[in-house]
């Protein structure tokens, strides 16, 4: 599956540019507008990302993540996921910035291309900030009860964690 990854970036860029040209889009103007939005959204997450990267760095330096990994190792080896990624899995449904801070810590500590780094990347990329989405969407239309939303969404997140670890291990 690694070879597919090499093609994605150029294929998507060329496809979109050719598509845009056919539809007579002002290509460069649209691109720069979009890029500006990218900068703006990065700037808007910057303060919370700074706060959470500080907290995650402190947790890392205190030895907390190593202790958690050791405690969780037996359970994790049973379901075949690296224990180092569990803190990421716990943080992912709750806060986007927090889970990116943990992912960054994992990528720096173990290397982005290591098994642990790849597993963490797939986990973070294939799940969402579940509780944020639930709060925003139900909150926006005044729905108070969530019925079976939380169990369904969290089970999907948990399975996503397992699938992430297994897919990286198998292929």
């Amino acid at each position: 599956m690694n070879q597919i990854g090499e093609y994605i970036v150029p294929v998507v860029i060329v496809f979109v540019v050719v598509f845009g040209a056919c539809r007579k889009v002002d290509l460069f103007d649209s691109f720069t507008k979009g890029a500006k939005e990218g900068i703006e959204s990065l700037v808007s997450v910057a303060p919370s990302l700074i706060g959470l990267v500080i907290a995650v760095s402190m947790l890392e330096a205190s030895g907390f993540f190593d202790i958690v990994s050791q405690i969780l190792a037996p359970v994790c080896s049973f379901v075949a996921i690296p224990p180092e990624v569990v803190p990421l899995g716990l943080m992912r449904p709750v806060t986007g910035s927090g889970s990116f801070a943990i992912l960054n810590n994992i990528l720096e500590k173990y290397g982005a291309d290591s098994m642990i780094g790849r597993t963490a990347s797939v986990m973070a990329g294939s799940t969402e900030t579940t509780f944020y989405a639930i709060a925003v969407y139900y909150g926006s239309c005044g729905v108070k009860k969530t019925r079976h939303t939380v169990p369904a969404a969290l089970t999907a997140d948990l399975l996503g964690m397992l699938f992430a670890a297994w897919s990286v291990k198998l292929f």
Partner: protein, 198 residues
């Protein structure tokens, strides 16, 4: 919510460092952490802008609309209450398409519009009907063509192939989305009737 999490993280790190005798490392980490975050944001900025720029071209050319038209019948199957409500289905499929293309800024307002539209014909106003639950479950799963943030972070961390994880992300997110939909379906049927629309 974040205040509590942040507070707990900071207190735990202090207690842990006290027990393991790593107070000096903790002190250094606090200062370096702030520095690291800014460096991370700067090194992510380039590839993030590449994708927001490219997706803006796709959106301008009508790719979002075309994809939404393709998705609409599929989403109609998941949300039978609104299959014939073109206004609600329009907002729903626009939201899902924006998510797939990674237009995060556009996706949330579209999703809110979709929920408000669905709420109009939802009989029990305080509880969501099955279709609304389905829609939120789709939004709590990640359905993104290119996980741009993750790839940008991998690039920033010096990965030799930041995008090599993309096919794995596709497989994993599709499987977990299907699992979420299936569980939502099963749990909604378990109550016997769609209670909010009884």
């Amino acid at each position: 919510m974040l205040s509590i999490i942040w507070f707990i993280m900071l207190v735990i790190s202090f207690v842990c460092a006290l027990v393991t005798g790593r107070m000096e490392a903790l002190s250094r980490a606090a200062i370096e952490g702030a520095d690291k975050a800014v460096k991370l944001i700067i090194s992510m900025a380039g590839s993030m802008c590449l994708w927001t720029g490219i997706m803006k071209i796709a959106d301008g050319g009508g790719l979002t609309k075309a994809a939404a038209r393709l998705l609409s019948p599929v989403l109609g199957l998941l949300m039978p209450e609104y299959r014939k409500n073109s206004k609600a289905m329009g907002a729903v499929s626009a939201n899902v398409t924006a998510n797939i293309l990674g237009l995060g800024n556009a996706a949330t307002p579209l999703g809110i519009a979709a929920m408000k539209e669905m709420q109009k014909t939802n009989r029990l106003k305080s509880a969501p009907n099955n279709s609304m639950v389905m829609f939120v479950v789709i939004n709590t799963a990640s359905v993104q063509l290119i996980p741009t943030t993750i790839a940008a972070m991998r690039q920033a961390a010096g990965s030799a192939s930041p995008y090599s994880i993309v096919p794995y992300v596709w497989v994993t997110s599709v499987l977990s989305l299907l699992a979420g939909l299936l569980i939502a379906k099963l749990l909604s049927a378990r109550g016997g009737v769609n209670e909010s629309n009884r």
